[in-house]
């Protein structure tokens, strides 16, 4: 050690300030920066150099702080995102460019991205897409699809102003500046300095029985504050998300059902946990089943679920068997996909403190009210005794709907009456959080001689893992969507969710629909080939139009815009086909291909009530407050909901102060899931804005046309040349307020799945252009063109951001991702796309309106990735003549398909 710092301390320059902090010199620099130096803009996503979120500049060079010994930084100059933006003019301009391009969505990777980009900007190297990609290749992002990040870095030197405006304007994220200046606070960033830490004890086997040793003796020997097991759960030791399917224990009792399941938790200070001996538990491994094959005869995971079938789904219309028999052309096939990990860069994190007879939990989440009620049930408290304070959420994509870290911190803080924190490790996150369901699909499609779809039969088996989570939703949704957005007069679709000894499969962007689209859209290509029809023309011929019944018999008289999506893609399709043909005429080692696929998705819950409530008020001082409980996990609800509300009220967006989310002050806006926030919470915001406007106009006795201007202590109303000032009366709360709710009009489905499951469907179609190395089976994506009917784009830049991020996740699903329990539990064995794996994406935004959506807007989040994987697979087949049935299409899988097809060398 240098003599410059006192014993047990490390001195360095942090963002220009010379500081000395008490620190273990072998500790990770990331931990010391966060916990000792207060630099919580340094994010920890993996502790292994796999994600780059902890990137800082060490003497000017970007490094992962998680792999630097703190003592190695002695005497060095360290710069982090917050310091750079505050002190460096180039970094500040970069931050503005990130805002302008919406290059930050959730914001968790933004520190790593921006710090890496500053190093590039300082290097003087020419800025090109390649140099930006090389410089940022070590930082993973799961939200953006990277394209807007590349654009923002390339554009970093300009100082163009941000866009302004209401509905339809590409304004910057209202909550964006903290994400780009380093002040945003995520799940683990808000943990109190004096909080104790939780460590969860988890099962090492897929299935096991277990016995504890002397826990109290262990607690004392190791200076722990508390050990929690099932015995310490005062309420129900189980939770879940679907009524009737709450089957997951906080702590397993007697037997564990998947590798990584919790049996106990230890609570102590960090030093005690680091020095802790082996936890006294003995395991006996039991026979397990990891796939639906054999699950029917395996030991039951849940006694009341015969043959390990969690539930089934069914939709039937017409007579599929009879129509299939009469079809002129029939194609069929088997397709499968694996477990997909959400891979958000922020692992699950929560902290809790007890306040009298209430418990307050701060956490990253997509569903604060569901979390509140779940915690209350576990703790035996009334829901009102639980307060959920969502932090910024560093990506969710479905998995942060379910409870993860929250029950442990809540229980411990309640019992100890001290603040408690828990951040999952990356391995803990991947091993135990919910996943996309693995699927095995058999599908058969028939068409008449003219190419009109006459019949579809679909049978999908989904591995739902050890617990139900959102499995029933997948089982219900898939049969409704497996036809794709096409006229299908005779249809029979079955689904089953099967329990196995794996991590629970739950909600993940699309709820099973991306998996069914992999089968359906590939078979559509095979059918078009049989019919000798152009693949786009075949889809255009069969797509749903206004007035056509869906497979549940639902008819949309307006807003079914898939035909417009295909029409918008047509010129791109023709050009891409011609370019591929020209390339292939002169190349043999590499072949190019073009693929197309479509998708659709019903917004909101299936055939059940799922209302949102939005509240707003004006204080006596004239401050306009929007109680916005629709959690923004990066998708943009804070901006979209405010834009809608501002439009309805008739004020500029900039006058709104957003409050929440916080279950104490924001009404329940439902969960951020199922592409429901823009549509459902957006409608609540529209109604709330309109109600508030009506109240204000009444106070001034002016017409509907009046202009509202908020001022100090009053409101000025201008109407047809006259001006009225309304004084705001002093009051405890708001001088004027409004609360409004919206619940989508749906109907229950009958025994054949017939009815109106959703009030709004969004549709999309995408083209993929790619190049395959025929000898190696490697795939290089060249371009994606994505046409999306969003009804009305409330914020076109946010729409593009959703599309690009969804496409990137679809690319991962198609080409590289597969979670294998016990084997790919980190971010170097579980691969998600890097900045070099996402090609240019051109978004074609279709605005066909909608009968129910706010200002005609539909949801969008899930739709974006549904067509991507099948479009990629169809392009691979077009390039190579080889079709991949079982994902992911890794190089060896593609090469094997080429060999099987006999089209390579």
């Amino acid at each position: 050690m240098s003599l410059d710092a006192p014993q047990g301390h490390i001195g360095f320059t942090l963002n220009g300030a010379e500081i000395t902090v008490p620190a273990d010199p072998t500790a990770r620099l990331s931990e010391v920066l966060r916990e000792r130096a207060g630099a919580r803009d340094v994010k920890v996503g993996c502790n292994a150099g796999d994600c780059g979120a902890c990137t800082v500049l060490l003497d000017g060079a970007p490094v992962c702080a998680c792999m630097i010994a703190a003592g190695q930084a002695q005497g060095c100059e360290i710069e982090t995102q917050a310091g750079l933006v505050a002190r460096d003019r180039d970094a500040e301009r970069l931050a503005q460019s990130f805002q302008r391009h919406q290059a930050a969505q959730c914001g968790i990777c933004t520190p790593g991205m921006m710090v890496s980009a500053v190093a590039l900007l300082r290097s003087g190297e020419a800025l090109t897409e390649d140099s930006v990609s090389d410089a940022l290749g070590g930082v993973l992002c799961r939200c953006t699809g990277y394209r807007k990040i590349i654009a923002a870095v390339l554009d970093a030197s300009t100082t163009a102003p941000l866009a302004e405006g209401g509905i339809g304007a590409p304004i910057a994220r209202l909550d964006g500046w903290p994400k780009v200046n380093g002040s945003e606070r995520f799940g683990d960033d808000v943990a109190p300095a004096d909080a104790l830490t939780v460590q969860v004890i988890r099962a090492p086997f897929h299935r096991a029985s277990f016995r504890f040793g002397d826990l109290e003796a262990f607690r004392k020997e190791n200076a722990l504050e508390l050990i929690l097991t099932a015995q310490n759960v005062p309420g129900e030791n189980r939770f879940g998300v679907i009524p009737g399917f709450e089957d997951q224990p906080v702590f397993a009792e007697g037997e564990t059902r998947f590798r990584g399941e919790a049996v106990a938790a230890v609570i102590g200070n960090r030093e005690a946990l680091a020095a802790m001996g082996r936890f006294p538990v003995t395991w006996e491994e039991l026979p397990s089943v990891l796939t639906p094959e054999g699950a029917d005869t395996a030991a039951l995971l849940h006694e009341d679920r015969a043959a390990n079938v969690m539930c089934r789904g069914y939709v039937a219309r017409g007579n599929a068997a009879e129509a299939m028999g009469r079809a002129a052309h029939v194609v069929s096939g088997d397709f499968s996909t694996g477990f997909i990990e959400h891979g958000y860069i922020e692992p699950e994190a929560a902290s809790a403190r007890r306040v009298g007879d209430r418990i307050e939990v701060q956490c990253c989440t997509q569903a604060p009210f569901m979390n509140r009620d779940g915690i209350a049930g576990i703790m035996g408290l009334a829901p009102e005794q639980v307060r959920i304070l969502p932090t910024a959420t560093g990506g969710g994509f479905g998995s942060k709907l379910d409870l993860t870290a929250q029950p442990y911190v809540a229980l411990a803080a309640w019992i100890l009456n001290r603040p408690v924190r828990l951040a999952y490790t990356r391995t803990e996150s991947i091993a135990t959080s919910t996943k996309r369901h693995p699927s095995q699909v058999h599908m058969e499609i028939g068409a008449d001689a003219e190419g009109r779809i006459s019949a579809v039969r679909f049978d999908g088996v989904f591995n739902t893992g050890a617990y139900a989570s959102w499995g029933p939703t997948v089982a219900n949704r898939v049969p409704i969507h497996a036809s794709g957005p096409y006229k299908t007069p005779n249809y029979e679709a079955k689904s089953a969710g099967i329990h196995t000894n794996t991590a629970p499969a739950g909600a993940f962007r699309g709820f099973g629909v991306p998996q069914s689209a992999v089968a359906q859209e590939q078979l559509y290509d095979l059918l078009a080939e049989k019919l000798n029809m152009d693949r786009l023309a075949f889809r255009r011929l069969n797509c749903l139009g206004n007035g056509d019944p869906t497979v549940t018999g639902q008819v949309f008289e307006t807003g079914m815009g898939i035909d417009a999506c295909f029409d918008a893609l047509k010129p791109h399709w023709d050009k891409a086909l011609a370019e591929a043909e020209a390339f292939n005429a002169t190349n043999t080692a590499k072949k190019r291909g073009v693929g197309i696929a479509a998708g659709w998705y019903g917004c909101g819950n299936t055939s059940i009530s799922n209302p949102s409530t939005i509240r707003a008020g004006i204080t006596p001082e004239g401050t306009l407050c929007l109680h916005q409980g629709a959690v923004d996990i990066g998708q943009g609800a804070n901006t979209v909901i405010a834009q809608i509300f501002a439009e309805a009220l008739g004020v500029p967006v900039g006058q709104i102060t957003i409050l929440g989310p916080d279950t104490d002050i924001t009404p329940d806006a439902g969960k951020t899931s199922a592409s429901r926030q823009t549509y459902i919470s957006g409608n609540a915001a529209r109604l709330c804005g309109a109600a508030l406007r009506a109240k204000i106009l009444r106070l001034g006795n002016v017409s509907e046309e009046a202009t509202i201007t908020l001022e100090d202590g009053g409101i000025t109303l201008s109407d047809a040349g006259t001006t009225v000032r309304v004084e705001l009366e002093p009051s405890e709360g708001y001088a004027i307020e409004a609360v409004e709710s919206y619940d989508p009009p749906t109907t229950p489905l009958d025994e054949n799945g017939q009815g109106d499951p959703y009030a709004v469907f969004g549709t999309a179609a995408q083209i993929c252009e790619l190049e395959v190395d025929m000898a190696l089976g490697t795939v290089r994506l060249l371009r994606i063109v994505a046409a999306h009917d969003v009804g009305r784009a409330i914020n076109p830049l946010l729409v593009e951001g959703q599309i690009e991020g969804g496409v990137a996740q679809g690319i991962g699903l198609a080409l590289m991702e597969e979670f294998l329990p016990g084997r790919t539990e980190n971010l170097h064995d579980y691969l998600i796309p890097t900045i070099g794996d996402v090609p240019p994406i051109e978004s074609l935004v279709i605005e066909s309106g909608d009968a129910h959506g706010p200002y005609g807007a539909k949801g969008l989040g899930e739709h974006c990735l549904i067509p991507t994987a099948p479009a990629v697979l169809n392009a691979i087949a077009h390039a190579t003549g080889a079709r991949v049935h079982h994902l992911p299409a890794t190089p060896d899988t593609v090469r094997a398909a080429i060999r099987a097809a006999g089209t390579g060398t």
Binding site: S2, R28, A48, Q72, L776, D892
Partner: protein, 282 residues
């Protein structure tokens, strides 16, 4: 939890005697291997040891200090002989990892998929190992004995890589399932010297297809005198008895064996024919 930061080799060696302290350089293997656990109680940081960092040239060859980072390799002014090593440096993890990860660390960690090993094998690199009793040298091919196993004795430091001067040009291909931050399915490095249209000598090495990256001596011998195109054909038909690829989460053994042949053929062509920057193939 002491972290020693010696500035002389003798001090570093002294600190490492007794087997208590763990050697630390870039930390890019050491910290991830902790799997979120606590660091070793005592470490010796080798990155400030005098003479351990940097690349120098002598009359007989090149010396790469053990603590030289991959970024330093990438930025060094080196002849085309090193094109493969530079391409490998570019493929090590990410910029962040290249900025701290060291050449010696990559070798001592001895992963079957270590990005640096095939290129260094093809360069006939020797390792220089220092102990309090003196230094010894050993061919790199002998130094690494298996997955995570080397001849590095307790208390010894890998101080340098020694690379004999030679004519010829290097090439390197890494095959992975994504563009950045990827562990190899297979890697191939070649150093080829040509005379007219014919190959005068070829040195070939393959990584991630055997417990330790391997040279291909029989194929190398067979290539002498062949044209580039004949050499490519020979690579495609060679049966690679040196390799023993396995099935893992990244690819199957059969695919690896087949892909290696393609990559060797391409690497020979790349090394022999062009001075363009080595493209990425995966």
């Amino acid at each position: 939890m002491p972290l020693h930061r010696p500035e002389s080799l003798s001090a570093a060696l002294e600190l490492l005697q007794g087997g208590r302290a763990v050697a630390l350089a870039g930390g890019t293997d050491l910290y991830p291997a902790l799997r979120d656990g606590t660091p070793p109680p005592e470490m010796v940081d080798l990155t400030r040891v005098d003479g351990l960092r940097g690349i120098s040239r002598s009359e007989t060859g090149w010396r790469i200090g053990g603590a030289t980072t991959w970024t330093q390799v990438l930025k060094a002014d080196l002849p085309p002989l090193f094109n493969g090593l530079k391409a490998a440096a570019r493929e090590v993890g990410s910029v962040q990892i290249q900025n701290t990860g060291t050449v010696a660390g990559n070798l001592c960690n001895a992963s079957p998929a270590a990005d640096g090993v095939p290129a260094l094998l093809a360069l006939d690199a020797e390792v220089e190992l220092a102990a309090p009793s003196g230094t010894r040298r050993m061919p790199l091919g002998d130094f690494i004995t298996g997955p995570r196993a080397t001849h590095l004795a307790p208390g010894e430091i890998l101080t340098a890589l020694l690379i004999p001067e030679a004519d010829g040009r290097g090439a390197f291909f890494k095959l992975g399932a994504r563009r950045y931050l990827v562990i190899s399915i297979a890697m191939v490095s070649a150093v080829v010297e040509t005379e007219g249209d014919a190959i005068k000598s070829a040195r070939l090495a393959v990584g991630a297809c055997s417990p330790v990256a391997r040279r291909l001596p029989a194929l190398e011998a067979a290539l002498a005198g062949k044209t580039i195109s004949q050499a490519g054909q020979a690579a495609l038909t060679y049966d690679y008895p040196e390799l023993s690829p396995i099935d893992d989460v990244r690819a199957g053994a059969g695919y690896r064996r087949e892909a290696v042949a393609t990559l060797v053929a391409r690497a020979i062509g790349q090394a022999a024919l062009t001075d363009k920057e080595v493209p990425h193939v995966a």
